[in-house]
Amino acid sequence: MPGRVITITSGKGGVGKTTTTANIAVGLALLGQRVVAVDTDIGLRNLDLVLGLDNRIVYDLVDVVEGRCRLRQAIVKDRHLPELALLPAAQTRDKSAVTAAQMCALCGELRQEFDYIMLDSPAGIESGFHNALAPADQVVIVTTPDVSAVRDADRAIGFIEANEKGPARLVVNRIKPEMVRRGEMLTIEDVLELLAIDLVGIVPEDESVVVSTNRGSPAALDRKSQAGQAFRNIAKRLHGEEVPFMAIKPSETLLGRLVRLVR
């Protein structure tokens, strides 16, 4: 059976597309699926860093498209997780180096080798976004509970629907339970009410994600990380499993507990 192409996109930048792509890819690989994460953000390569594979890149996506190497030569396999691979973006070119048709052809080849092809889309709604959208079988929208991120997500969903790539599924990233409780942040319900698409995961704000991202070891590999658990659950849901949404508790620090006692 040919593999499925899942495009991760957001509209707004900085909401955690790349982190989400890396972690869902790890989650699917942990389920024993053959996964390739593809960085389509040509010119602003990131996914390799988050996956900790940056120092092993020889060829990239543009080299494949322009015929300078075979597809297999450009794919970087993860040493610890043999099911996981990366197709990196070119760092020295820009979005115009690849067309939507080329992305579709490339994904057609990858479908033969992998169960899941995870496309990390660039931010924005320009050509790079459309290139990442063109081959998608499923689109996952990442947003944070901020008014601006939600509005941009709404715009992206409009494009996805217009291109008949819907219905997209939603990941709400970086929920801060404390702020939601105080009414300072949009709630999941607020976000869902506006975007009106199926929710596939809620990821709590978790400092361990920042640490693991910088270290190049995705949080989904960390059994103790709350966000890691959330990402593994998203992978299971995308794979077709029914997983209940976990209750998001504020992670209580010692200092926080002391402050509360003093109050």
């Binding site: 939507a100 063109a134 509005r151 709404d154 629907e161 291109n163 008949e164």
Partner: protein
């Protein structure tokens, strides 16, 4: 692959280009390539496009027209299964019925019709859209607009006549856009980011969210936009600009009470 997505055929009325499903930008590039290859064939010709269910707004259609103009080809019509696309095309004066009456087609709205009432909007010019307008969407129509769905923040609805939203209106709405101060904006949840009626503009009218989520109606009274609860009696008092919409309102307001 690309050949099947764009096909050109000749008819008595001129060339018709079928644009299939797929990435719109890519298809436009392909169309441009085809025109460049056979520039002499198309030169000074007129072309109509069939775009399937695709939703194109005025800007996109205008861009298409400019792209064709580059090759000395004029765009005369757009056929689409999407009402919105047809409305946008019609508002640019393009034909929307190319190949017989297979589809339900809006009455042409390119030429302003003689005034049919105090507002100058004829009753036959309603556009009904059953869809949520997401951020960035723009719906422009010379007549009345009825939306069954929401208008999200960042979307805009501009009507020559009245605007009725059977859902939440949180984007921008401009009723009576051609200067009709008697136009109305009604919504089940009227929380627009900005409201315009005729020549009046009101940022965040009605201030904060009302205590009760009741259907509300905006109209111009004493030279200012005011918002009131949307009830049957008030709609009638507000003298809506056409009988058709009066009936529609009565029905909608009635069913909201039953719900």
């Amino acid at each position: 692959m690309t050949d099947r997505q764009i096909s050109v055929r000749g008819t008595a009325e001129g060339l018709i280009v079928d644009i299939g499903a797929g990435d719109w930008e890519g298809l436009l590039r392909e169309l441009d390539r085809r025109l460049s290859q056979s520039a002499s064939f198309f030169r000074s010709g007129r072309v109509a496009l069939r775009v399937g269910a695709r939703i194109l707004n005025r800007d996109e259609i205008e861009a298409l027209g400019r792209a064709l103009q580059k090759w000395d080809v004029s765009l005369w019509g757009i056929e689409s299964e999407s009402l919105e696309t047809r409305a946008a095309a019609a508002s640019l004066g393009l034909e929307t019925r190319l190949l017989g009456g297979r589809l339900f087609v809006l009455p042409p709205t390119a030429e302003p019709e003689p005034p049919a009432g105090p507002s100058g909007v004829s009753a036959s010019e309603g556009l009904a859209v059953r869809r949520t307008l997401r951020s960035g969407a723009s719906l422009v129509h010379r007549g009345h607009i009825l939306i069954i769905g929401d208008v999200n923040p960042g979307a805009e609805v501009i009507a020559g006549g009245d605007i009725v939203v059977w859902g939440k209106l949180r984007g921008l709405a401009h009723a009576g856009a051609e200067g009709d101060d008697a136009a109305l904006v009604c919504a089940l949840r009227l929380l627009p980011s900005q409201l315009r009626i005729g020549s009046h503009v009101s940022p965040q009218p009605g201030g904060a969210r009302p205590a009760r989520d009741v259907p509300r109606m905006a109209l111009v009274r004493d030279d200012a936009i005011v918002i009131e609860a949307w009830t049957d009696a008030q709609v009638l008092a507000g003298e809506p600009s056409s009988n058709l919409f009066q009936r529609l309102w009565r029905r909608l307001a009635g069913s909201s009470r039953n719900a």
